[in-house]
Structures are given as structure tokens and as C-alpha cells.
Amino acid sequence: MNARAHVFELSVEERQIEEVVGSLFHTLLLHRTLGKFHYKQEGSYSVGTVGLVDEDCDFIDFTYMRVASDALNLQVKKEIGVFKDTLRNMLAPHSGQISLEFYERKRARWPFQAECIPWEVWTVKLDVLTLLNEHDRQICRDRLGEILTEKVMYIADIMNRHEYVPKTPNQIELDLIFDTNFSDVQPYLYKISHQSTGPSSSSVGTTMRKFIKDTLAL
């Protein structure tokens, strides 16, 4: 089965990395998280309630809504933090990508190992900009808010196409589809992975083009 793949490409400042990735991933997770399941008897279950929190950004003029779960928030934050540190430690110019992958598992059958089959992958590719003055920073900040608005609307559009998501399983197989480690909510199984890429001439060119285009657009 082929996983659906979506890619976002953005140019950001280093300090904006966490908020940009966080706003997109949390919007995705909000749509891909259900209330906690409680099985009463085989075939019958009740679903808990998902709480919601408005999250304001400091380095972008932007607010997004996330699932009210400290544990989930912490886990996502940790992964994004590692990605940010990796980018920071690279030699300039920095660029990299981070992916949020939803997958389902197949039970291990000897002699094979347990298999993870992704069904939806969202990738955020980032070019890290170094801006020299406050004026450019302000332009970047405003522009980024607009871009994130577009991305959130795109996410809403995709989510409402109601394409394939794994079927709700019975109680025994629940952990093959959902992450049951959280006490308050139940997201679909997900994995965050990242990689940093070295600077390439094309990516530098794209960044500059994008930056100049943005400047002229204002």
C-alpha cells in the first residue's frame, strides 16, 4: 500500500523552527487524535473526550489549536527540539526536513519482525535563514504567518477528503492502530523523524529567490 505524502517547504529563522513545525504537526495531530477508547465488552466501547488548547506563538504572529494532552505535547516538543538542535549545529546555511508519519503495525510472525506500514506522511522541509536586520525579520515574520495560514487550510482540506485511515480494530489489536500509551487521548500511531541536509547550490538559489520574491511582494 502506498502512503499518502504531503510536503511543505518553508524558509524560516532559526528561532521560528519549533513554532513552525509545532503549529503544523499539532494541527495534524488534532485531526488524527481520538478520545480514549474504553471497551465494555467485545464489540462495544465508549470514546473519551478530546480537550483543546489555543497555543500562541512568540516568533510568528500565529495561533494554532492543539490537543489538550501534556504528554503528547511534550513528546512532540521533544522531537522537534532535537531537530532544531541538529539544524543549529550544522554549518550554515542550514536546511533539513522533519516528518510526521502515521502508520499501522502488523504483528510479528516468526521469523519476521513486526512490520510498520505508513499510511500518511507529512514532511516539513525547512531552509534556515539568517536575517541581518529587524526590517527583514518583520517581513519574514509576517510572510510566515500568511504561509502557515495557507498550510493550515490545506491540512483542513486534506483531512476533510476522508481518505483512508485504518479501521478501528477490536480491543486486542488496538495498539496496532493507535498509540495507547497516553492516558488522556488516543492518537493514531505516529512517528516523528528528521534529517538534516547539507547545503546545495539549488537549495540556496531557491531560498534566495523565495526571499527576494517575498520582499518584492510586500
Binding site: 485531526h31 478520545g35 480537550g51 483543546l52 489555543d54 500565529f62 518583520q138 509576517d142 493550515v152 492516558s183
Partner: protein, 458 residues
């Protein structure tokens, strides 16, 4: 058996749809209260929350939504529109966005299970409403309305019928927010929002009075039956969500019967809502059943005026003193004075009112003023005036740069004391009369003077 199942499914679909509409309106209006929303996840499902989402109901909004939905003969036979608007203390109003929920019966998913698939799809659509409601420009304005206390208020209005995009101004954007296909059609939530947020005298609520639609007041659940815009946060203040939880929990929340007590009480459509600031009271005239605009505004009121150009005479002043000859000369003086004052004050106050107008707008403002100065000197043909955004040297997007600061200081320069003592027309006329009398009394002196000049010349 199948027919019975179908009827039951249909009933369930209608119940879910009804609550989907209620919850959508709650999410939209609550996002415009200006507060951050924080609700807790509840893993133990002892209390049933609709669509498994923790959405606290605001009782005012719920009552309003219920009232509107009850007016429908067929559920979603007409769109359910939620209009979000901004009203300034000066009485200007501007529609910011329109959220509309519709049922497209041409697109359906015959295999979707109502209880599971459709219900979950509705949940996802509501999550999208949550996400998208945070990214439109109105959200930022709503969040800043407390900071700019009293400058403006965000209002909402729920009505049935076609969304009126005209009020969103030029260049508005439309976006599909959520959809839930079902065997009975696809439930859609859409938003259309204003992109030009600058309030100018041409773009205020006055403009609204010129829009006349023949079928504007259709008998069947059109906008005329809708209530006037209500401020979002007043209702919030009046009833805390926790209060409502107790009132709407359990059986009542799940009740689908439209024959609730509240529904039967007659609705006073033109009843003003008490909100802070007199000027914020909604105007009655918008809702009277007549097809002509209530206010026959003079078209000249909406003309753009150059910085030093003379204004056309206002009919009000003309009426008062029409029988006095040459009064127009005086009138222009007074009007110009008044205009200068209002021009000085207005941009500042409206900028303050908008609050969120970022640096982009500031630069546009300055550009507009600059170009006004340089190009427009006639008021007769404002349509010919094309505003060219000037990228002035040394002026960055940063509003707090020196030039920006200097410009604002110039704009807000205090009025001259001579303008503070603004004599009335009668006083001015009296003064002229006295002067004439004085001149007449010394007429002989003038005659002698003229004669002496003649003699000198000879």
C-alpha cells in the same frame, strides 16, 4: 425492516446535523470572544460530549442558534450563516467573515454508516473549524479587542439563507473548511473572509444601506428573521461556560425536540442589545421590513476628498440657513474647518481601533496620504483617482521607525487654538453685521479719503 432502518438513520442524521450546526456556531463565536480556549481531555467517557470534543456551550449563542434552526422547515434546506463583524465606537461597522453550513444533496456517500462514519467525519470537520477559525484575520482582531478596550467590538449574527459576500468588500477569500459526506448528502462548512481590513469612510456600515435586494426579506427564513449582530464577548461575560454545562448537560443537551420553552417566546428582532458604549447599539433600521434603505444617504457623503479641496455643501447646513444670501461662502469655511479636524483625528482613531493593522497597512496609509497630497485637488471626480502605493525612501515596514513616528506625530498634531473657538453661523453673521454698521457710520471718512486721492491724482 429496511424502511424502518432508513427512517431511523435519517432521524439520527438529522440529530447529528443539528448538533453539528450548534457546535460549529459555538466554535466560531467563542473563537471571537478574544480569549484563549482551554478545555481538558476526559479519558473516561462518563459524560457524553458531542463528537467526542470538549466544547463548552455558551448559553446565549446556543439559544440564538436554536432559535434560528427552529425556523427551518427542512433541516439545512437553507444555509446556516454565521456572520462575524466588527463595530467601532464611532459606529462604523464592517463584516469580517461569513461562515456558512450547507447540505449538498447532489453529493452523497451511500455506504457511510451514520452512527460511526458520518459521526466521525463530523468530528473531523469540527476540528477543522477549530483550526481554521484561528488563522483568519478576524481571529487576530478578536484577540486584540480586549487590549484595545472600547475601540471596537466583534459581533456575531446567525441567519438562514444565502451568504451575502458583498459585505466582505473587494478581494475577499473563500475557503472550504470541513465536509462530511453521508447517505443524505454532504455537509459542508465554508468560510469567506475579508482581506482588506482598513476602515475608511467609504467602507463603513453606511455603505450597507445602499444594497437593496428585491427578495431581501423573503418570508421564509431569510436574513430579515435573523437577529441583529450581537457582541461576542458580552454573552460570554453574562454566562460562564461552567454555568451552562450544568444547564445543558444530560438529557436536555441531547433533546432534539424543537418545542423547548425558549423557542415559543416571540423574538423581538429590533431589540437593541445593551453593550458598552452608546454608539455600539445596533441600529434598528437594518431590520425593518422595507425594501428601501432606511437612511437615504447623500451620495456625496461617500466621495473621497482631497486634503485641501473644498467640500460640497452638506444639505443639513443648507436647510438651516438657506434663506440667508451668500451663506455658502461662510459654510465652506466652517466645513473645511470641520473636515480638517476630522481628517486629523480619524485615521489615528481608526488605526487604533483596528489594532491589528500591521506594518503593511501603515505603509499603505502613509502612501495613501502622500498620493492624496500630490494628486487630488478636485472632489468632483474621485472615481478617477487611482491610489498608487508609494514605496517611500527611508520608510521601512517597521511602523516604529523614525519616519513613521514623525509622520504619526504630524498627523496627531494638536489643533490650533483659533479652531477651538468655533463660532456659530449666527455669531459670525452678527459680527459681520456689526462690522458693516461700523463701516457705514464712518462712511464719510472713507468718502473724504477717496476724494483726497482723486485730488492728489489730479
Amino acid at each position: 425492516m429496511s424502511a424502518k432502518q432508513n427512517t431511523q438513520d435519517r432521524k439520527e442524521f438529522e440529530t447529528f446535523t443539528r448538533y453539528f450546526i450548534y457546535k460549529s456556531i459555538q466554535i466560531i463565536v467563542q473563537s471571537r470572544l478574544g480569549d484563549k480556549i482551554i478545555t481538558k481531555s476526559n479519558p473516561s467517557a462518563t459524560r457524553l460530549d458531542w463528537f467526542n470534543l470538549a466544547i463548552n456551550d455558551n448559553i446565549d449563542v446556543h439559544t440564538e442558534a436554536k432559535k434560528i434552526i427552529a425556523g427551518q422547515q427542512n433541516l439545512l434546506g437553507q444555509n446556516v450563516c454565521t456572520e462575524i463583524s466588527l463595530r467601532t465606537t464611532e459606529g462604523d461597522s464592517m463584516v469580517l467573515e461569513l461562515w456558512y453550513i450547507s447540505l449538498d444533496t447532489n453529493q452523497f456517500d451511500p455506504d457511510a454508516n451514520i452512527n460511526y462514519t458520518v459521526y466521525n467525519r463530523m468530528g473531523i470537520a469540527l476540528k477543522s473549524v477549530f483550526s481554521v477559525s484561528r488563522v483568519t484575520p478576524a481571529y487576530k482582531l478578536a484577540r486584540r479587542q480586549r487590549a484595545c478596550a472600547g475601540d471596537y467590538v466583534i459581533c456575531y449574527r446567525v441567519y438562514l439563507g444565502e451568504p451575502n459576500f458583498y459585505f466582505l468588500g473587494d478581494g475577499y477569500e473563500k475557503s472550504k473548511v470541513g465536509s462530511a459526506p453521508s447517505p443524505y448528502g454532504t455537509l459542508n462548512v465554508n468560510v469567506a473572509y475579508r482581506t482588506k481590513l482598513l476602515i475608511s469612510p467609504q467602507k463603513t456600515g453606511k455603505e450597507v444601506s445602499f444594497v437593496v435586494k428585491d427578495d431581501h426579506f423573503k418570508p421564509e427564513g431569510s436574513e430579515s428573521q435573523a437577529s441583529p449582530p450581537k457582541p461576542c464577548y458580552v454573552g460570554h461575560r453574562r454566562s460562564s461556560t461552567s454555568e451552562l454545562d450544568t444547564q445543558l448537560s444530560g438529557a436536555e443537551l441531547c433533546s432534539t425536540s424543537p418545542s423547548q420553552k425558549g423557542d415559543k417566546t416571540p423574538v423581538h428582532l429590533s431589540k437593541p442589545i445593551r453593550i458598552p458604549g452608546d454608539s455600539l447599539v445596533p441600529q434598528k433600521e437594518d431590520y425593518r421590513p422595507k425594501s428601501a434603505p432606511e437612511k437615504q444617504g447623500d451620495f456625496r457623503d461617500f466621495h473621497k476628498v482631497g486634503a485641501f479641496a473644498q467640500l460640497p455643501n452638506k444639505p443639513l447646513l443648507k436647510k438651516e440657513v438657506d434663506d440667508i444670501p451668500f451663506l455658502t461662502l461662510l459654510q465652506q469655511t466652517y466645513q473645511n474647518t470641520a473636515d480638517i479636524q476630522s481628517k486629523v483625528i480619524k485615521p489615528v482613531s481608526s488605526k487604533g481601533a483596528i489594532g491589528m493593522e500591521s506594518t503593511n497597512t501603515d505603509s499603505t496609509n502613509s502612501a495613501e496620504s502622500e498620493s492624496n497630497k500630490s494628486t487630488s485637488s478636485h472632489t468632483s471626480a474621485p472615481e478617477d483617482f487611482v491610489m498608487v502605493e508609494l514605496k517611500t525612501p527611508f520608510y521601512g515596514a517597521d511602523a516604529n521607525s523614525d519616519l513613521g513616528k514623525f509622520y504619526r506625530e504630524c498627523q496627531t498634531v494638536p489643533a490650533l487654538t483659533m479652531f477651538e473657538e468655533d463660532p456659530s453661523i449666527t455669531e459670525a453673521l452678527d459680527e459681520i453685521t456689526t462690522q458693516l454698521e461700523v463701516f457705514e457710520s464712518s462712511m464719510n471718512e472713507f468718502d473724504d479719503f477717496v476724494t483726497s486721492l482723486h485730488q492728489d491724482a489730479e
